[in-house]
Amino acid sequence: MTYPPGTPYGEPQPGPYGGQPQPGYGQPPPGYGQPPQPGYGQPPPGYGPPPPAPTGTTLNPHTLPDDDNVNPYVFCVSLAGDWFMSKGAMLAYYGDVRFEAVTEYTSVQAWVAARFSSPVYVQDWVVATGRGKVLIGDRGFDLNAYDLDAGNLTIKANNLCAFSPQLELKQSIVPGFVTLIGTGKFIASSNGPVIFVEPPFRADPDALLGWADCPSPSVHHDAQWMTQNIRGMISGALGRASGEERQYDFTGSGTILLQSSEVAREDPAVLRLVESQTQLLTNAQAGSLGQRLVARAQQQQH
C-alpha cells in the first residue's frame, strides 16, 4: 500500500501565512513603507512551477494529469470505462462521459451490486462511464489518492469521493465509516492535509478520517474528564460534551489517518442507518423514543 499524499501537496507552510503570490505582476510598488512581510513571498515548497497565465494554468484534456491531483483540492480521473463517484463530486469534465445512479445500474449490471455492497450509501453514488477527463472536488477540501494493493482501508463515508471499480465497498461496523477492499485506487477528501499516525493512539471521533491494517477501534472514556465535568456541572458551570470525554482507541499495528476536526456535515446515510435499527424496538419503545426526539427538537429550537 502506498500513501502518495503528504509531500507533493502537503502544504507544509511554516510561515504564519503561506503566501503564494500570483506571478506576472512583479513586486508591489514601493512607497508605503511596507517591508516585505515574513511568510509572504516564498511559494510553499512542493508546489509545481508557478502558473504562467494570469488566469492560472491553462489546462486542456492533454495537459490535465492522468489520475493525479491538479492542485491540492482537485483530482483528475482519466476515465476509460467505469468509476464510482460520490454524487456532487464532479466539478467538470471533457469527453464522452455519462453518469448514472448506482441504484439504476445495479439492476442492469450485476457487477455493480457485487462491488457496491452498502445499501445505506447506494443512493449517494453514481457510476461514471465513458472516456474522458473528469475533475472532482469536495467542498474545497484537500484531496488525496490512495492505492490499495490487495489491502483494505476504512474511511469516513462523508470523505470518500470516488473509487475504481476494482475495489469493493463495504460498510464498516463503526457507524459513518466504509471499508474499501482489494487492489485499486480511491480518492478521499480531508479538512487540511492528512496526518498519519501509528498506534497506540487515541483519536477524537470528529478528527478521525480512517485507518488501515489495524484492528477496529474501541471506545475510550476519559474517567477523569467525566468526574471533573460532573463536578463542574454541580458547581454551576455548564458541562458540555466537547469530545474530550470520549475517543476511539487504536491498538496493534497499522496506520491511522487524521484531519482537522470538521464542521459537522449532515450525513444522509446516518438517518437511514439509525432508522433501520429502530426495527429492534418494540412498539412501546418506539413510541417513547419518538416522544424524546420531539422533545429534543423542540428544545433545540429555543
Binding site: 501565512y17 482537522s260 476536526s261
Partner: protein
Amino acid sequence: MPFEQVNSKVVRARVGPASPVLARRGAMLGYSGQVTFRPVHGQGRGIGGMVGAAMSGESNPMMATEGQGEVLYGYKGLHVTVLELDGGAPLVCEADRLLVHDAALQTSVQFLGSGGIKQAIGGAMTGQGLFTTNVHGRGSVALLSHGGAFPLQLSGTQVGVDPQAYVGHVGQLTVDLAAKVGLRDVVGRGSGEAFQLRISGYGTVYVQASEQKF
C-alpha cells in the same frame, strides 16, 4: 515547549510533567502517551480577570492537558498560527482565537479601545469584541483564524482593521475604536454600524483574510 506546526490547520504539543498546556475545549484531535484532560473554568488569574470575563463574554471554555505524551490540536478546520512570546509585550487577542497555549502563560481580560462608554455599548451591541484577552509571559501560543492570519508590521505607522478580520496583536501598540463614517454608508444595509480598529505604534498586527467570526 514550542508547538510543532503539523500543517496549516493542526499543531502538535509535547506535554510533560513540568509543561502542561491549556487548550480550547473540543480542540483535541488525538494523542499518544499517558495524557489526561481536565476542564478548567473561567479565564485568567485573579478577580479582575474573572469579572471581566463574565461581563464581556470573553470566557472561553478551556481545558488543561497534563501528563506525558504528544497531543494534536486543531479546530473545525480553521487555520492555526503559532507565536512564540518572549516575555515582553503581551499578545492581545480575542479569547475564542486561542487554540492552545503553554499553561505557564498567564491570561487576563482587558478592555480594548478608548472611545468612551457610549461607543463601548455600541460596540457590544454590534457584537464586536471590545474586551480582549491578554496573554503574558514566555512560551508558545497557537491562534485560530479563518483562512490564515497575515502579519502587518507597524513602525510608528497606523493601520485600520476591520474588527471582524482582526485576529490579535503584539507590541507597543495603541488601539482605538473608531466609527468610520464613510464605511457606515458602505456597509449600510443589514450589516449595522461599521467600526474600525485604528492601531498605531510599533509591533505586529495579525489580520485574517475573512470577516467571519467564530
